[in-house]
Structure formats: C-alpha cells, structure tokens
Amino acid sequence: MTATQIQSPRSGSTVAPKYRRGGSSRGNFEMLAWLFMRLSGVVLVVLIFGHLFVNLLVGEGIHAIDFGFVAGKWADPFWQFWDLAMLWLAMLHGTNGVRTIINDYAEKDSTRFWLKMVLFSAAAVIIILGTLVIFTFNPCPVVDGVQLPGGFCPA
C-alpha cells in the first residue's frame, strides 16, 4: 500500500492553473484608464449638452440645421475645437468602455485579442476620418475647375 501524498498547505502549488496570475503587471495603465473614464465623462457631459443646446434650442433651433449651418460652425476655430474634443473624448471613452467589457466577458485570450483588434481598428478609422473632416472641410469644393453643385457658395 502506497502512502497517500498530501501536499503541504499554503504551498501555493495547489492553485489550479486557471487562477494563477501571470507575473505582476507593472505600470499604471489601468489606473490611468480608470481616471480617464471619470474625467472624460464629466467633460463630455458639458460638451454634449452644450452641443445639443446650441444646435437644437438657440435661435431657430432644429429648423436652422442644414449643410450651411454645419459649414458655418466649422468655419469657426472655436467650434472646430469643440467638435474635435467631443469626437476624441467620446471615441476614447467609448472604446475604453468596450475594452473593459471585452476583458470582463471574453473567456479565452485569443477571443479577447481579436475582439480588441476589431475594436481598436474601428476606433482608429473613425477618429482619423472625423479629425480629417473637421480640419479639411471645404463647403465649396472645386473639382477640375468646376464648382460642385450645392447652392451655398457664391458662383
């Protein structure tokens, strides 16, 4: 009869592999991400309600919104900056939120990795495209010397 092997308690080796944490992660990324979510959230409340107020309530309100209204706003550096801040903060806030949801709910590391790749690519495309639009927006584009139709620009 063989002696029963009893592992010594508190040896640490008895923890199932699933629960073992990889080497401790140095760095403050998770702390900064957590802080960013709170700060960007507060700023976004101001930006979004300011945006809604100016677009929908001031003056003629919602009836004033058309191509010309948007073109007029983006001719002003103040609104360019406002919309840029809104775009970047909302995208980073949302992306980080979905990143934590993926971390919480994906069970396999590979699933986690690919979901996050899709997420980051989508966020990058929208941030870059949006930034380009805000800064290169031209209400009166001229293509091959011909004014594009629109009716907003002096002929």
Binding site: S24, N28, E30, M31, N103
Partner: protein, 260 residues
C-alpha cells in the same frame, strides 16, 4: 424523591403543552440541492428533498436533516454553525448567503429553495468548492501587521479614531460570499476579488502598519482594484454587512492619491 418532577430533564422530548415547543409553526419545504460527485458522474444534477421544518430552522438545519436522516452522501462545509467561521457560504435561491444565518421562513417556501455551491471556484463535491484560489489572493495582499519600528515592550496603542478608520473591514470572516458573487471574478478567476481587497484595506488604513504602500502597489495590478465595476454584488452578499464596494473605492482613492 417525588414522582412528579416539576420540570422534565432537558433531554426528554417535551410534550407540546409543556415547553412551548409545539407553538413553533411547522411547514413543508422542498430543498433543491445541486449535486456533483466526480466519482459517479462528471455532470452536476439537482436533487429535490421534501422536508417538514420549523419556523426557527435555518437552511443549514434543513441540510443537516437531509444528511442525517435522508441522504448521508450530501456534502457541505460547516463548522461553528453560528455565522462566525465562514464555512457554509452557498448560493441560496441565487444569492450568496451563509446557510447558518438564513432562516427558512424568510424564503419563499411555496417554491423549491435552491441551494448551490458558490460560483466561480472549482466544485469538489456537492456544495464544497476548492477555496485555494480565494486564499491565494488573500495571501498575496499580506494580511498581517508589518511594522518597521522597534518591537514595543507593551501593546501597540492606537487612538479610538484611528481604530474606527478600518473598523468595518475587520469584520471579514473569509467566507468568500463576496468574491464568488462578483461577475468579474466569475469570468476568469484572475481578479484579486473583493475579499482580498477588504483585507488589504484593513491594514492599509491601520495607523500601526507600515506596509500600506506595498499593498497598494500589489492592488494597482491590472487584476487589482481597477477591475472593480462597482456592481455592489459583494456588499449585497456580505453576511457581516461590510460595505465592501466602499472599501474598494477607498483603496482606489488611496492608490490615486499616492500616484498623483
């Protein structure tokens, strides 16, 4: 010696009219217990037990009645049976509770009462789970006093205010009800979990302890306090009424205050 004793000896079954024993109402319950025995089957199953219980009985009494009178193979942990040892945390009607502190009359007895092992830890048999991952996280936060000063000849004195600062988190009995109620812990078991953070809090905010910085550094890990989503499951589950989510928030703030 008189033939008529005024009071019968304590071990004699009391007639209903003497001790008031018969005044406690009885009711019928169905206890639906999650069974798992890897020596018989790799699949877990539900077993229903119909019992007649008293109004003063707890879920633990029902489990005892099953084990002692109906099916001796039902396995569960319990030690003190009075809410202090933290052995009998289980999922009762979907909520983490101590079986010894949950009165049957407080549950809906018209429907079967479900009893399951706590979630997120490997089940060993029936209601018994492997607590080792839970205790590993507990050990990692160094839950003991670290003082770099000279060893005092008498006790280490502390003002009542300093003691009050961490009073709430001294109540932990390590039953794992909080950690195993946390949805972040359920996913992959990597998160330190509320219990480890509560026990770190107990020393971080203790004026006699000198290793608060080390504990904060440990909990600044990517599996540390920042994985808390403040769902309050842990505060709701704690049988000692510890404000667990608040303790975690205080540790978060302590880390922030130290870094910034």
């Amino acid at each position: 010696m008189s033939a008529e004793l005024a009071e019968p000896a304590s071990k004699i079954e009391l007639p209903a009219h003497v001790g008031g024993g018969g005044e406690i109402p009885t009711f019928d319950i169905t206890l639906r217990v999650r069974r798992y025995d890897p020596e018989i089957s790799s699949e877990a199953r539900w077993d229903d037990f119909k019992l007649t219980m008293y109004g003063t009985d707890r879920v633990l009494d029902a489990l005892h009645k099953i084990k002692w009178e109906v099916d001796g193979s039902v396995s569960f942990r319990r030690s003190c049976a009075h809410g202090v040892c933290g052995s009998d945390a289980m999922r009762i009607n979907g909520r983490n509770r101590l079986a010894c502190k949950t009165l049957l009359k407080d549950l809906d007895t018209t429907k079967p009462i479900t009893v399951e092992p706590i979630k997120g830890l490997p089940v060993e048999k029936d209601l018994i789970v492997d607590m080792e991952p839970f205790f590993q996280s507990f050990r990692e936060v160094m839950p003991f006093l670290i003082n770099r000063g000279h060893e005092p000849t008498k006790e280490r004195l502390q003002s009542a205010e300093d003691r009050e600062r961490f009073d709430d988190t001294t109540k932990c009995i390590l039953c794992a009800a909080c950690t195993s109620s946390c949805p972040v812990f359920w996913t992959d078991g990597q998160y330190f979990g509320p219990a480890a953070i509560v026990n770190a809090h107990r020393f971080i905010f203790d004026s006699r302890d000198d290793a608060g910085d080390m504990r904060l550094e440990i909990l600044n890990d990517k599996e540390g306090v920042w994985r808390c989503r403040t769902t309050f499951n842990c505060s709701e589950a704690c049988p000692r009424g510890i404000q667990v989510t608040q303790a975690i928030a205080e540790v978060k703030q302590a880390i922030l205050a130290r870094k910034i």
